[in-house]
Subunit: 487 residues, 2 copies
Amino acid sequence: MLEKVDLTKKMSKEEYRTKMERLERELGELQRKCKRLDIPVMIAFEGYPAAGKGAQMGELIHALDPRGFEVHTVKKETEEERMHPFMWRFWTKMPAKGRIALYDTSWYRKVLSEKPEKRAFDSILSFERQITDDGVVLVKLFLAIDKKEQKRRFQKLEKKKESAWRVSDADRKHYEHFEEYEKIYEEMLQQTDTDYAPWHIIESMDRRFATVKIYTIVINALAEGVERATAPQTTGKKREVYIDDSDLRESILNKVDLSLAYGKKEYKTKLKELQSKIQLLHGELYRKRIPVVLAFEGWDAGGKGGAIKRLTEKMDPRGYMVIPTASPNDWEKAHHYLWRFWQAMPKAGHFSIFDRTWYGRVMVERIEGFCTIEEWQRAYKEINDMERDLYDAGAIVLKFWMQIDKDEQERRFKARQENPEKQWKITEEDWRNREKWDQYEAAVNEMLIRTSTPHAPWVVVEGNNKYYARIKTLQTVVKAIEERLRR
Amino acid sequence: MLEKVDLTKKMSKEEYRTKMERLERELGELQRKCKRLDIPVMIAFEGYPAAGKGAQMGELIHALDPRGFEVHTVKKETEEERMHPFMWRFWTKMPAKGRIALYDTSWYRKVLSEKPEKRAFDSILSFERQITDDGVVLVKLFLAIDKKEQKRRFQKLEKKKESAWRVSDADRKHYEHFEEYEKIYEEMLQQTDTDYAPWHIIESMDRRFATVKIYTIVINALAEGVERATAPQTTGKKREVYIDDSDLRESILNKVDLSLAYGKKEYKTKLKELQSKIQLLHGELYRKRIPVVLAFEGWDAGGKGGAIKRLTEKMDPRGYMVIPTASPNDWEKAHHYLWRFWQAMPKAGHFSIFDRTWYGRVMVERIEGFCTIEEWQRAYKEINDMERDLYDAGAIVLKFWMQIDKDEQERRFKARQENPEKQWKITEEDWRNREKWDQYEAAVNEMLIRTSTPHAPWVVVEGNNKYYARIKTLQTVVKAIEERLRR
């Protein structure tokens, strides 16, 4: 894409002034519209060193209401960031709905600074697809100058004492290997120029020309986003039930042997043994900087809480976090549904233990109609992609489904109601959900099939006997850690 | 995805009979509807050896009108197929609109029989995305049985003389390495289970159960396709012009130096030299089995024909094919727009020279509104993917844009009109297209930027002087071949 571009385009001062007056007004207006319509906007500035990314961001924000935008400068990864999957820092820095985020270099930094491997591009494509599917207006700008101009700009900076420091060794290296870098840039542009997130090359030899072009592209992108958001909704296609295939669909849950049980004594012995094992292994994971993600799902009163409690009881509390997942609050709703989970992903050497998870998308949100059919159908792949990113970053990822039968649930609900200390645990909603047992069961079965992967398997835990369920959970965790440490 | 599936599901004869009666009727009806609505359908049968793919295909076609379907048995690649990119055989075997194609194993064969490399999955994902975007109903079935059952079926076949041959060495190998194959299957399912082309696992221990499930899935997919096709169209969003950025957009064409020229004598000497070079190189390409794809685009009367003629003049006619591209005929329109070009791609060692190309999608189809905005915007990536597949299969891919200016075009048009032998070359349409010069110029510039790639570069040929244009074309071809042969 770079090859064919004429970098030397220019604009006169006069033309620039006339155009900018109008463009600044339009951009300000559009920012207000996007805010009103809850449209999140992300603008990524990439390009050659000394192409003027900083200066152009400065120009762009002239027209913006400072309460509505944020600037992220993407430097070398911090210690914290290095300890997470590489897209983590961007997932956690997504703008809320109605806000504009500008990125001074972006998620492309990774594929530019390192030898780009195929997986990194996959992660990027998946990220951009997910956020644009979710309504983000994404603008990707690539500022280009030629080698001579780069040298001229470096020399100008180096001549003066007060600016000489701004030319880094990396910059000099870039100049020396200009042609090689150009190839890397070209590959990057190629691999990631999509219809949902196209690249815009900005000819940046002349600053005025570049500014006007950037304004124009951003304005057009926002206007398009506004149009999309206000277009008559083709409200999520309602799938008819054509032929009822419910008896043909896979049922994993109803073949689970719920009679499995341990006696109290056996339980206590095993528990003690497993808990000290986990304590030891936890230390080793920490030393080896291996992150662990444990996801707990299951029927209401299925025993998630009890299993998590036994799991963590003897663990060093500085090394794990339990994340209870309730319905999303307003701020969470103002982001992509995976955003809040990305926030909580463990850094290397730590545990994140989720009590309910991102799988809400394909269970409660699916069944209650909190998202469209397209959205939950898309979610299987989105979730698999996320868990793959975690795995690729070295994490152990395990997912537990705590299975009990309907009678057992009723027993537990009633027991809770009768116990004054546990009454808070049971609500009207629990009884309502119970009525949709069959719908949930079908959704869970589909979820288990579509998202059980070698790198992030589902473990169905036979839960009618709590002792058995807890021991199986702990055993599974221990086994997974031991296998990982042997690798 | 396989791990959680209960393969042992069964269905009684009675239930089977009752269900099938209704299912066969429904499927027949839906086939007729799909025909009427011009919906193409592709059904891929994958799965373990002896899982019953053949038998199940036999069951499925019971209900189908034989004039409306075709069965493709995907065996080991033929000599012809091995000499093309691996997706070529499937691109060329796409069903026309309104027809159903069944595949006894499919494009997944490649990733199963060989060590799956990342690029092969990319090609598959791109293929499935493109055809479903284009309205194909795609059903992917995976028939699974367990190891014991596989052995039982093999033994049963082997016991009888007349069926023993049906168990191949490859089958036996599959049985021996059952668990390893399972991992490969799992990876394949993982990588390619998408919202636009999901996998369906068919529990195939019990044939009746499997048949009913397959019928049900196919019926539901067709019904969904029918619903989509008849839903009120959200006719391709009409993009408003927000801010006119035409003066900011890249113009490659207007910086071309059209004064470049050769004199007749110089031309003749160079031409002779280049033509004999090509003759020689052609032989070497043939011996090394390297395919060559040359695409010619340019203004009407830009000199495409003349350049192609000089290029091929001395070449062995058995080793190249010139493909003139007119507007698609009805049969071609009944397929994906890339289909007819895939048909014409060269086998290894041969040249395909296209006089006008698949780039019509982003030029004439874009400007005349023959496709939607979404369609031509998607096309850049689709085209880049196709050319990448060709390149990955070892091809040299070069694209020429024959550039002349508006005055030169007028001169040539008039000359043609005045020359009785060339009058046929000029039509009213040519004059009409000329009126849209500026629109075409903008489209061409965008095309050159978005689809010029290192593996399939665009070469803009300065064409006002025909001698110069032809020599440059030949020189570029020679240089590209020489470079490739040195690799």
